[in-house]
Symmetry: C2
Subunit: 207 residues, 2 copies
Amino acid sequence: MNALTRRQQQVLEFIQTRQQREGLTPTLREIADHFGFRSLTAAADHVRALQKKGVLENQPSRARSLRVVSPWQGLRRPVADIPIFGSIPAGIPESRVQDAKGCLSIDVASLGIKPTPRTFALEVRGDSMIGRHILDGDLVILEHGVAPRNGDVVAALIDNESTLKTLVLERGRVWLRSENPRYPQLIPASELVVQGVMMALVRRRKG
Amino acid sequence: MNALTRRQQQVLEFIQTRQQREGLTPTLREIADHFGFRSLTAAADHVRALQKKGVLENQPSRARSLRVVSPWQGLRRPVADIPIFGSIPAGIPESRVQDAKGCLSIDVASLGIKPTPRTFALEVRGDSMIGRHILDGDLVILEHGVAPRNGDVVAALIDNESTLKTLVLERGRVWLRSENPRYPQLIPASELVVQGVMMALVRRRKG
DNA sequence: GCTGATACTGTATATTTGTACAGTATCAAA
DNA sequence: TTTGATACTGTACAAATATACAGTATCAGC
């Protein structure tokens, strides 16, 4: 009953791809064109069949209202796009698109914060923050321009590279600390630029 | 030049909300209706202004082709929806929508895996896996039905609760190990159900 | 051999939708 | 004071679009 035919899978995949790539689902005409149907009804039939099988939804009489149904779609929250930078030379004056290495898209609720235009992500290199359970390869989401508190993990510009450190207030002075015994421990933060404060983290699969 | 007026912000927000909630951007008529405009042109004017300011895009003569522009949109990859379960009593026979506590939406590339219908997420309770740098409150993404390898982090059903453990092959037998010295170390896995293998992790902001 | 589901062609039509044109009024900047 | 941007009303129309109806052909299951 729920099994899709090969043709239906092709049609569904086409709709889904267009939805992801262009943000718009195709019209019946566009479906027909893509598959070389000379009749709209062919496309309409497939859409009807996919609806019947519960994998496609439709708002009657509305243009481009096809939607591929994910069982969890109803629970979906707004998704934010956060740029991933390799390293940030300056203090993020105006982070430009061409500087981004990629884009992390994640829903706001799971992130725990509301991203702003000053939110960005860095890929962690090395295990200098292993004491804070941040590993090599982790994607760290940071917020630029907020005041860091004592103990916050921050990104700082050291030797023209963005590096993660723990910010420490001690005896009225500000220090940056690595969280790995094998690394130099304390650096005076006076001359360093704090580029962002860590807000969240994404760890991809390893190996 | 780029600053939006209050009215323009309202219009943009309306379009964005509809896009997120219904998956469709509104038509000019729907915008006009929502704001009580008696004329389509009022809506059209706002859309034109927002386009001019670069925060909205449009494919001419296409129905519902409005799209709110994020600077990073071009980099966006397909986003997957992964159900979040509180705990999973049985071996996930058919995880039903009503059992889901929420939904984690994240792009496939950042996740490092291609989610399947057997992908799900658990919220970590306690710090029994701190040795693997998994903290209380972390969101762990797991895959059901794949064969775990030695050293993989897995979710197992213990006392009717899903608990994370490290799977250890030793002397031809399978054990589950907690990664915290204060917890009981080894449990024979023979009678336990492995519900999933950890693939990725999301850490939200703390405090 | 019959039946229902699938996979189409071809035509027609009502509705939805974007767009254009002609105005009015307000407000801030030059 | 003038100019341009903003914020609308009101009307009209062509294009885009969903949908309906009448068929044909194939194939699997009964």
